[in-house]
Symmetry: C2
Subunit: 352 residues, 2 copies
């Protein structure tokens, strides 16, 4: 770290002032991330697209509705059960486009390599990107490579930005959840995070823990065939299902009730979570989305999800309510209620 004395002028607003230096939690997708976005990025870069706080910007360019998004990937290890940083970077950006209803078209790839990285490792990562892109029907059309000295990076970081086209009659947004709406989920939670942790921690049953990393755009397309009137869609990555529901509850100013028993969790993931003292609701996914739809469309959308290979275990997991606006409450299996808080900071660092 160097030269932090040379700048001048900027004074952090509250509540950022409580953290004079960046901590891992600022990249967590939890409350610290949200504070950074709301109190630093959004006011400084002030514009409507950014302020909408969706996972992608919706732009009008010469009459075409574009979705535009970016994601940097710093996952460790680079290769893990069910994928690598290469396939993850493609799926992650496709999913940020898909949850706007966009048809993903083009990706960019910006690499930051650490001196000493094995050339074959880079080759394998790019091979994985290429295969993931081809399988999903998108193209990586532009790129950039920077190299930093040994000890100034961590093997390989990659940023993927993406462009997609949003149909004229689709209006999915984080502030559109309404009391009475139904909350749908396309399958088991916690798979990606626990797959990464199993490799890092050397868990004995690691062979059963596989990332769910997958491109969700065809699933979204199948859901939009049923109805264009999907209110919210978001992929549940950093911070897991809990973070996504909290974000949507806050941005829509509604309450959410989660039926905990209805949330699918693989037994191996549940066991690994218990061993590490983690709640699967907070563990990252890379192939899971939350959909909030009007009650009258819920069954039909659920049926469409279950008919898709990435939605076979889809379930209705809760509902939107007027009470406790901005808050997510889980009804537990024994009938008790508990608040599912926004995570403060980092539960599992460098998961994506």
């Amino acid at each position: 770290m160097s030269d932090q004395a040379q700048f001048s002028g900027f004074v952090c607003p509250l509540p950022l002032r409580d953290y004079p230096r960046i901590v891992l939690g600022h990249g967590s997708g939890g409350r610290l991330s949200a504070e950074l976005i709301r109190h630093l990025f959004v006011p400084l870069l002030a514009n409507d697209a950014l302020s909408a706080l969706n996972d992608q910007a919706l732009l009008e360019v010469e009459g075409v509705r574009l979705a535009f998004t970016t994601d940097s990937f710093v996952v460790q290890p680079l290769f893990f059960p069910g994928g690598s940083i290469g396939s993850l970077a493609v799926h992650g950006t496709i999913n940020d486009l898909a949850v706007s209803g966009a048809r993903p078209l083009f990706l960019s790839a910006g690499f930051i390599l650490e001196e000493g990285l094995a050339m074959d490792a880079l080759g394998q990562v790019v091979t994985d990107m290429a295969r993931a892109a081809q399988a999903a029907g998108v193209q990586v059309v532009t790129g950039d490579t920077k190299v930093v000295e040994q000890g100034k990076g961590d093997g390989l970081f990659v940023n993927t930005a993406g462009i997609g086209v949003v149909p004229a009659d689709v209006h999915i947004a984080a502030d559109r959840a309404r009391p009475g709406d139904v909350i749908l989920l396309n399958g088991t939670v916690g798979d990606h995070g626990m797959a990464i942790m199993s490799v890092r921690e050397g868990l004995a049953f690691e062979t059963e823990l596989v990332s769910d990393s997958a491109p969700l755009h065809t699933l979204v397309a199948a859901m939009l065939e049923v109805t264009r009137d999907i209110h919210c869609l978001r992929d549940a990555t950093r911070g897991g299902l809990a973070a996504v529901l909290n974000e949507l509850a806050e941005q829509s100013n509604v309450g959410m009730v989660l039926e905990e028993a209805a949330v699918p969790v693989k037994p191996s993931v549940q066991a690994a979570c218990e061993m590490l003292g983690l709640d699967p609701l907070y563990v990252a996914n890379e192939g899971k989305l939350v959909a909030i739809v009007p009650r009258e469309h819920a069954d039909a959308v659920l049926a469409a999800m279950r008919a898709h290979p990435l939605g076979r275990e889809a379930a209705i997991v809760g509902e939107v309510v007027e009470e406790h606006a901005g808050m997510v409450v889980a009804r537990t299996t024994i009938g008790a209620q508990r608040v599912v808080d926004m995570p403060l900071g980092e539960i599992l660092p460098r998961i994506c």
Copy 2:
């Protein structure tokens, strides 16, 4: 560095096999960078937009001609005379769009922060991005932040991807230089690289060395007002003027003759280069572009450049020839000729 044993399958093609591990030169913009692009990225990610080897992809989306580009920034120090990594990230991506003739519209910003970075430093970088974007008339509409552990990054890296719209009648490309064309440059070379070096090396006359970091899109627009028939445009960043001319000579399969005395160099930059044993032709710029135009338009384009604040010292610096295809030859002040080679690797690391 970790887990480079877990991948399998990828075997590097020649000539990459000479480098089993990434070296700094692979990020230089010189020959090692070109080999990585040609023998790894382009074949693996195979598509026409990428294979065109321009600084941006030209895409047709629902009848609109889009330019799409990405650049990661790893410059050290983060703040330097004439700018910071924030303003540089905005200017650099604007310029990659501008040299396609595009009107830059929207940027993304993906941050990779090192745990321990001062919050105020981040705030100042984002402030600089915001000011640069506003001054240039573009918006930063989507973003992402990741945090890595102390010692796994270097303060702050940022990726900016960008989208612009290309007018229907503009067809600028790296393979369009033709014998007889004239080579134009919009001002002095080496300013950015020597400004960075002056801070790093603590050169005595550092106050005179200031980065030329600037957004070139309004200059390009003024040039296109004169004629749509501009053959090639490229900003001369990593590898300097020498790298750009070599790339264009190779991609257009033509020779280039550079009149060395015609290339503007500030006396302070010249002096700093001599002290460090560097050739200003190879030093990075962040506000300079090379234009290759048909001879009949050269004087009018030059006049338009000189009438623009970022082209006051514009000059005709050479011509395109049929001889020595793929090679750049400089005519020196004493009438001798020398080959201006593509740099192999890194001359000045982490300059952008």
